[in-house]
């Protein structure tokens, strides 16, 4: 367990920097986490992060990569509905890296 300091407030994270309490999340925390991942958040990044959070609210899990690419494709145009586009935004893998920034738990398993 570790803590991160953002805007004078302290937030609990796990060994890999994922938020422990999902309700702690806010845009400052997201920006901070993105920074530690060497990502500069753009509108494109936020589209993905916001979709992840909406999906999580409904299903209590991050969407499958395919569900994510399809949703992004519908929203932003077919050429962006590809895993290449998502890997471009989140080089360490859209599943894990984008989840972290979105304040969601890390998906685990054989993935």
């Amino acid at each position: 367990m570790a803590n991160i300091e953002v805007g004078g407030k302290s937030y609990e994270t796990d060994e890999e920097g994922y938020l422990v309490n999902l309700s702690d999340w806010n845009t400052d925390v997201a920006n901070f986490m993105a920074q530690t991942e060497n990502i500069t958040m753009t509108d494109q990044h936020w589209e993905v992060v916001n979709f992840l959070r909406e999906y999580f609210d409904e299903y209590q899990i991050a969407p499958a990569v395919r569900v994510l690419t399809k949703a992004i494709g519908k929203k932003l145009g077919a050429e962006k509905g590809t895993s290449e586009y998502l890997y471009g935004l989140f080089p360490y893998g859209p599943g894990k890296q984008a989840c972290k920034i979105a304040g969601l738990p890390k998906p685990t398993g054989c993935i």
């Binding site: 060994e15 890999e16 991942e37 409904e58 299903y59 209590q60 899990i61 969407p63 499958a64 990569v65 395919r66 569900v67 399809k70 895993s83 360490y92 893998g93 599943g95 894990k96 998906p107 685990t108 398993g109 054989c110 993935i111």
Partner: protein
């Protein structure tokens, strides 16, 4: 995430130079109190861990005669030493299988043999100190239980069983691994390793029906919880979630569609994987397997088919019969196992691997393929360790090697083999099996992939290979992660049923 780079390929693949301590302290995260307690293990390292660990070891030695033989039989001939992908990749001498086993064997000698009790120094016997315990945790999580070394052991010592015993002892004193134990908690609580709840699963499957309809114009169904279906498909939850796994799930659905088979998934048993085996814990292994029996009884299915998952197939093929009653061998007093055995149709293999299912249809000319749809691929096949060395398929010895290859050749025109000392029963682990497929072990995973990457490179250079097919969810996930680190496209790996999916003709013949 720290930058981890691929080690250089070896010019001559021989025993690497030793780097003592190279992987010291590079083991995985320790499971938290919450994770351990959720599955009935002590939350953290218990105070009397020394006595408890030795007592547990004694219990395992008396329960598993094999373990005692493995402790006694090794003569340190060294035949196994350079056969381990982790030793080759990390150069840490403690990752030689013989040395890794000796971490336990030295303790065994001290407490369970007369010479070790009397003259510990003379026979290399060691007290179980905290340092030794930490060494166990570190190095027994740098073994993927792939059993390649066992193939070369003149005594047939099953090294994986030693690793499993060590992990079982560690769990019994509250010193378990985060990744495996967290996942086992999820499978009990939610039904699968990923923690994919029923509604999310249903949403994903509906999305797949749309996708296949868009791509082919045909209504291929992905049914779930359908009572009275003939086939229950048990597949790794990664097949619902990850790339390229999901393409094989589409392949299975197309095979069922084209053959007119009524089938269903189960939201209760939406996981083939069984991490109970990785941690060597029989109770967990059984409890996880029993979910499948419960689902099969509830749905009234006649056949159980297992999707592309390496260790799941080992558990299914080798252990399901006595664990759950799928197949023969249910105990006479095991009422539900007896019930299930009566329910299942024994004209078929129970369980059946999806590759056996598909190959049987191909042999009976029940499926039509347009092989040219796979012409963009030059394909090779990576044997997954638990399928290769822990199970079988079909009716002939070696069926687990031939059947997946036969399917590939039936659906594609370009197939080549990788170097023969790295395939079939001598296959190298992908580097992520046995409960190490976690980011905290990424350095180990990258280094452990070295021998497979070397021969893949050779196949790419000599034959232009651009697709490595495999039938294991862990292999697919591991390669997707490490291929780019070795300079390959991550899409170079995929499933056998992904190739089936590309070529199968769904319309009327």
């Amino acid at each position: 995430m720290a930058d981890i780079t691929a080690p250089a390929y070896r010019t001559i693949p021989i025993i690497p130079a030793l780097i003592p301590g190279a992987m010291e302290g590079k083991g995985p995260f320790v499971a938290s109190e919450k994770i351990n307690e959720a599955i009935g293990f002590p939350g953290q390292l218990v105070e009397d861990w020394h006595d408890k660990a030795i007592a547990k070891m004694g219990e395992l030695l008396s329960k598993y005669r094999s373990l005692k033989v493995f402790m006694d039989a090794c003569v340190h001939c060294g035949a196994c030493s350079d056969k381990c992908h982790y030793f080759i990749g990390t150069q840490d001498p403690k990752n030689m299988p013989v040395a890794r086993q000796d971490l336990m064997r030295s303790v065994y000698r001290r407490y369970f043999t007369l010479p070790g009790k009397l003259f510990p120094k003379l026979v290399g016997a060691r007290d179980l100190t905290r340092e030794v315990l930490d060494e166990w945790f570190n190095y027994y999580h740098q073994c993927s239980e792939c059993r390649r070394c066992s193939v070369f052991c003149p005594y047939g010592i099953d090294t994986a069983e030693v690793t499993m015993a060590a992990r079982e002892i560690l769990d019994s004193i509250g010193y378990g691994q985060k990744y495996s134990n967290e996942i086992i908690g999820k499978v009990h609580k939610i039904g699968n390793n990923l923690g994919l709840p029923g509604p999310a699963l249903i949403d994903t499957l509906e999305g797949l029906e749309e996708d296949v309809k868009d791509a082919t114009g045909i209504d291929v169904r992905f049914p779930i919880d359908v009572k009275g279906a003939e086939v229950l498909l048990i597949t790794p939850s990664a097949d619902f979630f990850a790339e390229p796994h999901i393409d094989s799930l589409i392949g299975y659905a197309k095979v069922f569609h084209a053959s007119g088979t009524s089938w269903t998934l189960s939201s209760l048993a939406s996981e083939a994987g069984n991490f109970g085996m990785f941690i060597g814990n029989y109770e967990q292994l059984r409890k996880i397997a029993l979910r499948i029996r419960e689902a099969a009884l509830e749905l009234g299915v006649k056949r159980i088919v297992v999707g592309e998952c390496g260790h799941a197939w080992r558990v299914a093929y080798s252990f399901w019969n006595t664990l759950s009653g799928v197949g023969g061998g249910a105990g006479e007093v095991d009422k539900f196992a007896q019930m299930l055995q009566k329910q299942l149709d024994h004209r078929y293999k129970q369980p059946t691997h999806i590759c056996e299912f598909t190959w049987d249809l191909i042999e009976r000319n029940a499926l039509t393929f347009d092989k040219s749809k796979n012409d963009k691929h030059i394909i090779t096949f990576h044997d997954s360790c638990n399928v290769a060395r822990g199970s079988r398929m079909g009716d002939l010895p070696g069926g687990q090697f031939e059947i997946p290859r036969n399917i590939i050749k039936a659906v594609a025109n370009n197939f080549v083999e990788m170097a023969p000392n790295t395939t079939r029963e001598q296959t190298f682990c992908c580097g992520g099996g046995g409960g190490v497929l976690t980011d905290d072990l990424l350095e180990l995973r990258v280094k452990g992939a070295l021998p497979r990457m070397e021969v893949l490179q050779q196949a790419v250079d000599e034959h232009g290979v651009n697709f490595m097919a495999t039938i294991c969810a862990i292999c697919k996930a591991q390669f997707t992660k490490v291929l780019p680190i070795y300079g390959f496209d991550r899409k170079l790996v995929g499933g056998v049923h992904q190739l089936v999916s590309n070529a199968i003709q769904l319309g009327p013949k």
